[in-house]
């Protein structure tokens, strides 16, 4: 098998206050996969995500991104390869215009001039926000800001896109539009979410994290129909949603 895009082995981490968040996590994500990372609040999902690009570290275990170990001397390249879209777009959009915000990452990578413009235009095109390039981000609607936040990361041409709660606070139409965008991208995706129907719709594989450990790693439909697993780890489907009655799953 080829080198996984994401290779996490035996990852353990305790916060400085002594709270242990991860207890030996193993996770592999291969090229082109879309994987959902599920788990109740406080399971350690965000802690895991912050290890993927070296924001957190120093505990036991290793993280490799396409074979490159996440360590201090590689941080710049690791952060190019792993694109994290945070939950609140206001945390991610801080420049005066959409264009400047989307250009922020590539400019930090040293891109300039025509190549920078090309990256920005391509990323905005991918999320359907090209005509908003000159608007200040805080004048956009929440759904538009979430899409621009995705573009800010796509502009770095990452190998894996990590999304923290991509569907939270979106109205159903924006939620569906974002799903269409994510499906249209030719990129590996790791999606942290509580939105189980969304995980089923977009990701063929799901990993369940609970109390800092991986407790399940299986096709999403299998995970969502395993009632014991679901109940043990505080995962619940929305009322009226029955994954067994969905005839065919979208790819």
């Amino acid at each position: 098998m080829t080198t996984p895009v994401l290779d996490v082995r035996g990852l353990a981490f305790a916060y400085p206050d002594g709270h242990q968040a991860l207890f030996g996590v193993d996770l592999h994500v291969h090229q082109g996969e879309r994987v959902a990372l599920l788990g109740p609040n406080g399971a350690g999902k965000t802690t895991l995500v912050l290890h993927l690009n070296g924001i957190l570290g120093g505990g036991a275990g290793t993280v490799h991104v396409s074979g490159l170990p996440v360590e201090k001397k590689n941080l710049q390249e690791v952060r190019r390869r792993v694109g994290i879209v945070f939950q609140d777009p206001d945390d991610q959009l801080f420049m005066g215009s959409v264009r400047a915000d989307v250009g922020f990452g590539p400019a930090n990578l040293g891109l300039k001039g025509a190549e920078l413009d090309r990256r920005v235009a391509a990323a905005l095109e991918q999320v359907g926000m090209a005509e908003y390039a000159d608007r200040p981000p805080h004048h956009l609607s929440f759904g538009q800001r979430r899409r621009v936040a995705v573009a800010t990361v796509l502009a770095m041409e990452p190998e894996i896109l990590v999304l923290d709660e991509p569907s939270s606070n979106l109205d159903p139409a924006s939620r569906r539009e974002l799903a269409d965008i994510l499906r249209s991208l030719d990129v590996t995706v790791l999606m942290v979410t509580h939105d189980l129907p969304y995980a089923l719709e977009l990701c063929s594989r799901a990993v369940v994290l609970s109390d800092g450990q991986v407790v399940a790693d299986a096709p999403t439909l299998e995970v969502l129909t395993d009632d014991d697993l679901m109940a043990t780890h505080r995962l619940e489907l929305p009322w009226g949603f029955d994954p067994r009655r969905i005839g065919s799953l979208p790819r």
């Binding site: 710049q76 801080f94 930090n108």
Partner: protein, 222 residues
């Protein structure tokens, strides 16, 4: 949700003053304020001259005087202080009606009020004719340390977010039967200010994380 516009002091226009380079305007403002502050006590004739120059610039910029006047309220605390001066200062006193006022106090109050008014009016004119982003560009051209310019640009960006946070907090206080304006509820208001500070601080951390994730190394791209 982020609908506010971050330039409440700006008056849209295309006059020569609007189009002048921001760094020149900054230097002119600084020079003007220093000049006003440096006027020695008793040189009353200097103030009308300075005011005339300033009004000339305002006319040239075609910013309505009423627009600036309404925003002058920010000066009120200084004026209150100036009014108090003749009562509390020492030295020879003059009788005005039944009041006994200090002469040096009167002179100082007059100077303070005149200098303050000129400074505030000049700054407002600058703000009315220059977009905040241009002010930042101007500061950068004047070799202001990059870190300070970055801090100011983040303040501009997040001012609306923080005021929206505050508005939501006061709305939720009102919904639970607490009137933030009544002095009886000031302790609650103070605590919510503390909470707002923590929230903003934590947001700052999250923004920093998001920046690091995109390869930020201490310098913003121009």
């Amino acid at each position: 949700m982020g609908a506010g516009h971050g330039h409440r002091l700006h008056y849209h226009g295309h006059s020569r003053v609007h189009r002048a380079p921001a760094h020149l305007k900054l230097l002119a403002l600084l020079g003007f304020v220093l000049l006003a502050v440096a006027v020695p006590p008793g040189w009353w004739a200097a103030y009308p001259v300075l005011l005339a120059v300033l009004l000339g610039v305002v006319l040239l910029a075609r910013v309505p005087l009423g627009y600036l006047a309404r925003r002058m309220w920010i000066e009120v605390p200084f004026l209150v202080f100036a009014v108090l001066l003749p009562f509390v200062a020492t030295g020879p006193r003059v009788e005005v009606g039944f009041l006994s006022l200090s002469e040096p106090g009167l002179v100082a109050a007059g100077g303070l009020a005149a200098k303050g008014t000129l400074g505030v009016l000049a700054s407002l004119t600058m703000a009315a004719t220059t977009e905040p982003a241009d002010v930042l560009r101007g500061l950068r051209r004047l070799r202001m340390p990059d870190l300070l310019v970055q801090i100011m640009s983040f303040m501009l960006r997040y001012l609306d977010v923080v005021t929206a946070d505050l508005a939501r907090m006061t709305t939720s206080m009102r919904s639970r039967g607490c009137d933030p304006r009544s002095p009886r509820h000031w302790p609650t208001l103070a605590r919510s200010m503390g909470a707002l500070f923590i929230r903003s601080y934590e947001r700052g951390e999250r923004v920093h994380l998001a920046m690091l994730s995109r390869g930020y190394d201490g310098e913003l791209p121009r």
